[in-house]
Symmetry: C2
Subunit: 159 residues, 2 copies
């Protein structure tokens, strides 16, 4: 069954936090920042500049994406956070979420969508996924997150 994608609602928060907490790559500090952005969206909606979608299969929330306009740019957007439940991986949930974000950025006349992620081997699935979605690896900042953990930036021209 194809994943459904819709704007996140208050009632979705527990399920999304569960997915974030069960994503082994994320540190507690990262889950905390993800939650701050979710709360900003749930309180202020699109005025928060953190747009948030969830993906459902059979009414179960299996993933979410948070993206928005990058400050002091014209037409550049960032994917700030994205997580898919372990059980749902390889079932098109990530693809459905990222495609929905891209369509929205295109509708807003965005030019570029960026995704930052870790260069660690444990992030290989994410790195391959972004490449498979047509993103180019355009930047690597050595040891950005901590010693041995580079920051990669994936880049796609939109629209």
């Amino acid at each position: 069954m194809a994943p459904e994608v819709r704007a996140m609602a208050h009632g979705d928060k527990a399920a999304v936090m569960g997915i974030l907490r069960h994503t082994s790559e994320f540190k507690q500090m990262e889950v905390d920042v993800a939650e701050e952005l979710i709360d900003a969206y749930l309180e202020e909606g699109m005025a928060s500049d953190y747009y948030t979608y969830v993906s459902l299969v059979d009414s179960s929330i299996l993933g979410y994406i948070c993206y928005g306009p990058t400050p002091i740019t014209e037409g550049t957007y960032d994917v700030y956070w994205m997580a898919v439940s372990l059980q749902a991986q390889r079932h098109g949930v990530g693809r459905a979420l990222l495609s929905a974000a891209e369509a929205d950025v295109r509708a807003r006349h965005g030019r570029i969508l960026l995704i930052e992620t870790s260069g660690k081997a444990s992030y290989f699935k994410a790195q391959s996924f972004y490449a498979s979605m047509g993103y180019d690896l355009v930047s690597r900042i050595p040891e950005f997150y901590e010693p041995g953990d580079d920051k990669l930036t994936y880049y796609k021209r939109i629209g």
Copy 2:
């Protein structure tokens, strides 16, 4: 006379805003963001995570720098903003400000200091200055700020 560097105080704001407004490279939207960070520092001090120093010669404010810890990193710091009055350029004000920020980051056991800037030709002075201070150009994101305006990241290992 060697520039003096000290923490920014409320009474310095008008002079710093004057320098920002007279820096021809900055767009209004950038001056607005710079002002938000200054206000956060003046209200909350170091708790704001936007540390701000000014540089003075003969009691006149000739430049400022704003920097702080990069979220979700361990030991990475960003220079968020920096400006030196046109009259003071090539008199060591920028060097004094950036050296003071580096010394502070080192004292906090920071590992890396990053500076993002525009790749446009009109930013050549800034680009050369960072290179002269020992920063490596490690990343270029094409057309990040707007069409034709790449984002460069300069990088220095501290301590």
